[in-house]
């Protein structure tokens, strides 16, 4: 899973890194030499389409899809588990709905053989095909997670369910930031602060 995540992140990052260079070159050529490469805009929109579906999946596995946790903490563990289950199940249902309704985009493109309204006249099926595949991947991952949550709920493994599916708290996000800070600077302050947060988390 970790491996798959880092492969996806590299694809995502690679797309935007290449895009940044292409757009920079295009902008400089256009302004300095009044010569346009054409199509950097179009490339940018495909990059977003494909990048965003990869990012949906990574945000899902990183539990980054925001949930408000203000009242969550105060609830008894049973209610927490029910809401955690409901949250991931609804998210999976949302993903399934997206896949179902977006199939229309693909069907129409195939039916009319649509091309982009740009100088390149890219056949839209290429970017849309990749985009749709990414959307399916998002759905599959969401379904697997929802399945896991359902399995835990039915086997009354409430605490495990709450550990794996609870909303990400500020404390967790902070800890991730401090981990990275300690990693990049090896600063004693960061390590000390991290230990303090750890101690707080175990209280």
């Amino acid at each position: 899973m970790k491996r798959l995540e880092s492969i996806l992140a590299n694809i995502f990052g690679g797309i935007f890194l290449v895009l940044a260079f292409v757009v920079t070159v295009e902008t400089i050529l256009r302004k300095v030499f009044t010569f346009s490469l054409q199509g950097a805009d179009e490339l940018g929109s495909y990059a977003l389409a494909i990048g965003s579906v990869i990012a949906f999946t990574l945000a899902l596995t990183g539990r980054n899809h925001i949930r408000v946790d203000v009242f969550h903490e105060a609830l008894p563990r049973g209610a927490k588990a029910a809401l955690n289950w409901l949250a991931i199940t609804l998210l999976a249902a949302f993903a399934v709905t997206l896949v179902v309704i977006c199939s229309k985009v693909l069907r129409e493109t195939l039916e009319f053989g649509s091309t982009a309204q740009t100088p390149w006249a890219t056949p839209l099926i290429y970017p849309q095909g990749v985009w749709y595949a990414g959307l399916i991947m998002f759905m599959v991952v969401a379904l697997i997670l929802a399945g896991r949550a359902t399995y835990l709920l039915f086997n009354r493994r409430i605490d495990e369910l709450n550990v794996e599916f609870h909303p990400k708290s500020a404390k967790e996000e902070l800890k991730e930031e401090l981990d990275d800070l300690a990693h990049r600077s090896a600063a004693p302050e960061a390590l000390a602060a991290e230990r303090a947060v750890d101690a707080g988390a175990h209280k």
Partner: protein
């Protein structure tokens, strides 16, 4: 569709969000649900092109690019080194290192859009030394929590891109409009620190390092200043669109990371992962928000609400006062991005119909979001600074420490209402 129905749908959505349903899902359920109720199942078909349209929108490509830019500067350590340089220059002011906190947050804000990363980085570097030097923890925590909020007002700001895309306003104009208020608010914070520390008689001042050392340290400020200059300069002079300026920024940041000897595969992978996760979260919410927007525009509910509000005889000023109260309360419980996407589609048509400038309203919304970051019980920045404080103390210190800044922000909003030119003057010059 009636006002009562719209009100019930809005409350249902906020309710779902508050019990912890993912924000994007809550927006989609209400948006698509109301659409299907009004137009039947064919409504869902029309959402398909909206989803592809949003994710294929070149303007929104600037979101992952700006996030990547901030990540590169943060994780290559370029941002950390700014603190050292600024403390060498600002420590002499009454209030000492507290000014460094604000100044550093403001500069950091100019390169990054994440308030958690800003507050965590500055807090980790600053708090232990503030503690060792005997600064009041309350003052220290408040200054960092409040300084961190500047991140979304001083461009580049992801929250402004979200506003611009939801309301079809120029991102470039919004960014440029944020500069003067951002600088003024920074100044207000610093004046408050100086004044309060003089009044309390606890004005701390730091010894400055020798001039040669200070000038050497200025080198640390070069990368962030150049990145900011390129991004904002290219926007202001119309050389680049928001997406292009973000791309220029990313390439420049890569150059500085390479110069600093920090550019490694490890660093890039870390930046990619963070950027993907944050962008995925934001883009899914935006996709859902556009579906909700479609329902709002097709049902004409915004027009009905606008008529209803105008029939109450509200002026723009009273409406804005009401909105300050509304956002103050909502911001106590909701995360700021969710608050933005959930309310803008409804409030924007109403206030613009009352004659409020769209760009000005964008800055207003961002200020309300900033306020939400430091108002308890859910103020993200309060948790962050509390989490890294070196001594053992309660969260009340962060809350009380940040309170004066919240009051300053509200007063500042009133100032912008009285003098809207502070916001609209610079973008009009573009």
């Amino acid at each position: 569709m009636s006002v009562a129905f719209a009100g019930a749908a809005f409350l249902l959505m906020i309710g779902m969000m508050l019990v912890g349903i993912p924000i994007a899902v809550a927006m989609f359920v209400v948006g698509a649900g109301a659409g299907v109720l009004a137009f039947g199942m064919p409504f869902l078909n029309s959402t398909a092109s909206v989803v592809w349209g949003v994710e294929n929108e070149n303007l929104l490509t600037s979101i992952p690019l700006f996030i990547l830019l901030g990540e590169l500067l943060l994780r290559s350590g370029i941002a950390d080194r700014m603190y050292v340089a600024l403390s060498a220059w600002l420590g002499r002011l009454p209030g000492g290192l507290l000014h460094t906190n604000i100044g550093c947050c403001a500069l950091f804000a100019a390169t990054s859009g994440s308030s958690v990363a800003t507050a965590a980085t500055i807090g980790t570097v600053a708090l232990p030394s503030l503690y060792a030097r005997g600064y009041s923890m309350r003052d220290a925590l408040g200054s960092i929590a409040a300084g961190g909020t500047l991140g979304i007002l001083i461009p580049p700001s992801v929250n402004m891109i979200v506003y611009g895309s939801l309301t079809n306003n120029s991102i470039g104009k919004l960014f440029i409009a944020g500069i003067i208020p951002g600088l003024l608010l920074t100044l207000c914070f610093m004046v408050f620190i100086a004044a309060s520390s003089i009044i309390k008689g606890s004005a701390k001042q730091e010894e400055l390092p020798p001039l040669a050392e200070r000038i050497r340290l200025l080198g640390n400020l070069v990368p962030p200043v150049i990145v900011f200059g390129i991004v904002m300069g290219s926007l202001y002079f119309g050389i680049a669109t928001a997406t292009e300026s973000a791309a220029l920024g990313v390439v420049t940041a890569l150059f500085f990371a390479w110069r600093a000897g920090r550019l490694s595969l490890d660093l890039l992978q870390n930046c990619f992962m963070q950027t993907a996760r944050i962008s995925g979260m934001i883009l899914l919410i935006i996709s859902a928000a556009f579906i909700l927007n479609l329902t709002i525009s097709l049902t004409g509910i915004a027009g009905v609400l606008t008529k209803w509000v105008t029939s109450l005889g509200l002026t723009a000023t009273t409406m804005l006062f009401a909105l300050i109260v509304f956002y103050l309360i909502l911001g106590m419980f909701m995360d700021v991005l969710s608050m933005q996407v959930a309310t803008i589609p409804i409030t924007y048509p109403i206030v613009t119909a009352l004659g409020v400038d769209p760009i000005w309203y964008g800055i207003f919304i961002v200020l309300m979001c900033e306020l939400g970051l430091i108002t308890p019980p859910v103020g993200m920045n309060l948790f962050v600074v509390h989490g890294i404080r070196p001594d053992k103390g309660g969260i009340e210190d962060a809350i009380w420490g940040a309170l004066p800044y919240a009051v300053i922000m509200i007063l500042f909003t009133l100032l912008l209402m009285a003098l809207p030119e502070l916001v609209t003057w610079l973008p009009a010059k573009m």
